[in-house]
């Protein structure tokens, strides 16, 4: 069995989790002050759908956890496959296929931590949805899943550090995006407690993601660029767009602290920041040309 098989399993798993989370989100009654983060009562029934309360949410959490295990297995297998072809041990983050897979592995992992800590399951639908899109896109015929040996420029330990931290940071931004988007969609529907919690989760994940992103994107990125290309900074499209997304998150933190912006305004910034991150990742590879076109 190869990693591709497990990535298919992962895609199916995230889809199932997504459905469970969605049922949880709309099928369960509105949370009260004590049970913030359970359903939002969109279905407007007083009794939960089909089975007893919290079951959908529990199912969703468990299926996500199991899928993360599949995803981990797939990542390990992929690592071994690369090593076999390249005779070089590295993380599976060397092309678009692998970075997508990595992303779909990292987001739910980070999310499960948030769910445990903040007892907020409503973001689950956004998160597993995103992960499903990432891994489904990777498994689709649009992207080659071929294991290719590493090109010379990528044979460096900086690859691992740079991508691990940058994508790790972006996984947190993805959670922030999920929470912010949900906030914007449910602004007038959900309880104040849920909205506050969404806003807080969005802020907390940016506060964790920002140092990771700074370290991975700016610091390790610049040091590696210096090491491989002979300059820290060259206004390459990838570098430039990374800087733009870094600025947006810096702006987010500043307006929150300095101007006391909250809720919808900062939610829009979190959404914009993630959109720019995605453009840095995708748009730059396919629409703009530059040195950094690995994935």
């Amino acid at each position: 069995m190869d990693s591709t098989f497990f990535f298919y399993l992962t895609a199916i798993g995230y889809f199932i989790s997504f459905v469970f989370y969605l049922l949880h989100l709309i099928g369960e009654p509105k949370g009260t002050a004590k049970t913030v983060g359970t359903g939002l009562g969109i279905s407007a029934t007083t009794t939960p759908w089909l089975i007893k309360q919290t079951t959908w949410g529990t199912l969703a959490t468990w299926s996500t956890a199991i899928t993360v295990i599949f995803s981990t297995v797939a990542m390990v297998l992929r690592t071994i496959e690369i090593a076999r072809v390249s005779e070089y041990w590295t993380l599976p983050v060397t092309n678009t296929y692998e970075t997508l897979a990595f992303f779909s592995w990292a987001i739910p992992l980070v999310y499960l931590f948030f769910e445990r800590r903040y007892k907020i399951k409503v973001i689950g639908a956004m998160v597993t949805g995103l992960s499903f899109i990432a891994v489904a896109l990777a498994s689709s015929p649009l992207i080659s899943s071929e294991v290719r040996p590493l090109v010379p420029a990528l044979q460096s330990y900086w690859l691992k550090l740079h991508v691990l931290f940058t994508l790790g940071g972006e996984a947190f931004f993805a959670i922030a995006f999920g929470a912010a988007l949900l906030f914007l969609v449910l602004q007038r529907r959900a309880s104040v407690e849920t909205l506050k919690l969404l806003d807080n989760v969005s802020y907390k994940s940016i506060a964790i993601g920002f140092p990771l992103f700074t370290l991975g994107g700016i610091v390790f990125g610049a040091v590696w660029a210096q090491h491989a290309w002979g300059r820290y900074w060259g206004w390459d499209p990838k570098e430039t767009w990374m800087l733009i997304s870094w600025f947006i998150y810096a702006l987010y933190l500043h307006v929150r602290v300095k101007w006391g912006w909250r809720d919808a305004k900062t939610a829009w910034l979190a959404v914009l920041g993630f959109a720019v991150c995605m453009f840095t990742w995708w748009g730059v590879n396919y629409l703009l040309s530059g040195l950094h076109s690995y994935g």
Partner: protein, 476 residues
């Protein structure tokens, strides 16, 4: 007069420390960067590619507006300079506030004030004489610095965290200045070297000799694994040392860095072309070989043939400038000039290897400029391999790395440490403990609870322990 200048200075300070200015500047930088990635930049784009894409007129306009080199344009540099000033001013302002905070003494609080804190608890009952000391020890074990003031213990830790964000901003400035140092006093060149080439670096008292270079493929594969170049450093005619560099493993010597950055076939610089030449009437004159920028004589015919250029992938721009679209051998073409022995040019043409191109070119030339005396075809071409070396001098490197270190440290301190203060009031028959953390992070609740658990072991247990929330609601 001095009051006037003071007012201006104050206005300037206010202007440069405003967060609005920072946000406007950040947005502007983001906007320019956005434009700069939409329009390919000079640094990695050839003139012909611009003309091919935007047309000649369009290219002139872009160039006038400095949009082809936006990151070096006066307006971008101006915004960057303003941003640096803004960052500096904000850092100074913040630093002063942090300094005041640092100097702020921790004062004893009255029992009433302690009960107004968010986290507090009290115990009642007879107090053993050594209780204070034992509590002090518990606090010290948890990393608090404890001071006694009359009947109170004043404990605090991590007051310095307030400087974390200042450290971060200062470090960002250090990185910017390191980059500036590299820009001003460093340099960067790209050298295409052949076997045996000697490279003289500007300002350096040594030379580099390229001994050999090779490309290594993966086992049973066409894919490149690595490129290597063996270099010898020569100083005053003496060989100092020899080192083989590869991608991601540069040579560093006396502040210079030599990177393996490209590898390939040097078609445009040093191709060897074979031409088949015939008279217009069809008489074959034979096949001749020459290197680019050189030529050969055909003595019987009394002509000199010069190979002016070689393009591996011939293409024309809108205003008919020939360029090579790629560096692969897709549509090779050689620019040929034929002179008589007095040096008068008889004709010039392009010779192609692809027959369709050759026919197309000959028929269109015949229509434009009439019959030409000779016919030239491109029948063979070889080129030596080259190694591409990026050579840099980078005086800002230690500064930039130093800055990076503190960018990360400062950010971590700011986000994960918060100044914490604990007051222990020791009354006749009463102990009140109150605590707070700057910006009141959630995590402090856990810290406070853990601390209380330890202190509970020390203080009298007979009395009921009022829950913090219960007491505070009943006392108001």
């Amino acid at each position: 007069m001095s009051a006037f200048f003071k007012e201006i200075a104050q206005d300037l300070y206010r202007f440069f420390t405003s967060i609005t200015l920072a946000i406007v500047l950040i947005s502007l930088i983001a906007l320019f960067s956005f434009v700069g990635t939409l329009i390919p930049q000079e640094a990695f784009t050839r003139e012909v590619d611009y003309i091919a894409r935007f047309g000649f007129e369009g290219y002139q306009i872009l160039k006038q507006l400095q949009l082809t080199n936006i990151f070096g344009s006066w307006y971008f540099l101006f915004v960057m300079a303003l941003f640096t000033l803004n960052l500096t001013a904000c850092t100074v302002k913040r630093l002063r506030a942090s300094w005041r905070y640092w100097k702020l003494p921790m004062l004893a609080l009255s029992p009433e004030a302690l009960q107004r804190l968010e986290h507090w608890r009290s115990w009642e009952g007879p107090i053993a004489p050594e209780t204070a000391q034992r509590i002090e020890r518990v606090l010290q074990r948890r990393g608090y610095r404890v001071r006694r003031e009359s009947s109170q213990l004043l404990a605090e830790k991590w007051r310095w965290e307030r400087f974390g964000i200042d450290l971060f901003h200062i470090a960002l400035l250090v990185v910017i200045f390191g980059g500036l140092a590299t820009m001003l006093w460093g340099f960067r060149t790209f050298e295409i070297a052949h076997k045996g080439s000697l490279i003289q670096l500007p300002g350096a008292d040594f030379q580099l000799r390229v001994n050999r270079f090779w490309s290594e493929n993966y086992k049973d594969s066409e894919r490149v694994m690595d490129w290597h170049t063996e270099l010898t450093v020569i100083e005053n005619g003496r060989e100092v040392f020899t080192q083989t560099i590869e991608v991601n493993a540069p040579l560093r010597y006396k502040g210079y860095n030599v990177y393996q950055s490209a590898f390939g076939t040097d078609w445009q610089g040093a191709a060897n072309v074979t031409l088949a030449i015939s008279r217009a009437d069809g008489t074959e004159l034979g096949e001749f070989t020459s290197t680019v920028n050189e030529g050969f004589e055909i003595p019987n015919e009394k002509i000199f043939v010069k190979v002016g250029a070689f393009l591996p992938d011939f293409a024309l721009t809108e205003n008919l400038i020939a360029y090579s679209r790629t560096q692969r051998l897709e549509n090779p073409g050689a620019y040929i000039e034929i002179f008589d022995l007095n040096g008068t040019r008889l004709m010039r043409t392009w010779a192609f290897a692809r027959t369709d191109m050759q026919q197309f070119w000959e028929s269109s030339m015949a229509r434009v400029s009439g019959a030409s005396p000779y016919r030239v075809r491109l029948v063979g071409m070889t080129a030596p391999e080259f190694t591409g070396l990026q050579i840099t001098k980078d005086p800002g490197r230690p500064i930039v790395y130093f800055g990076f270190l503190f960018v990360v440290l400062g950010l971590l301190v700011h986000l994960y440490f918060k100044h914490q203060q604990i007051w222990v009031y020791l009354g006749e028959n009463r102990i009140i403990i109150g605590g707070m953390a700057r910006n009141r992070p959630r995590a402090f609740v856990h810290e406070f609870e853990r601390l209380l658990k330890e202190i509970e072991q020390i203080v009298p247990k007979e009395e009921p322990e009022p829950c913090a929330t219960l007491v505070s609601s009943s006392s108001t």
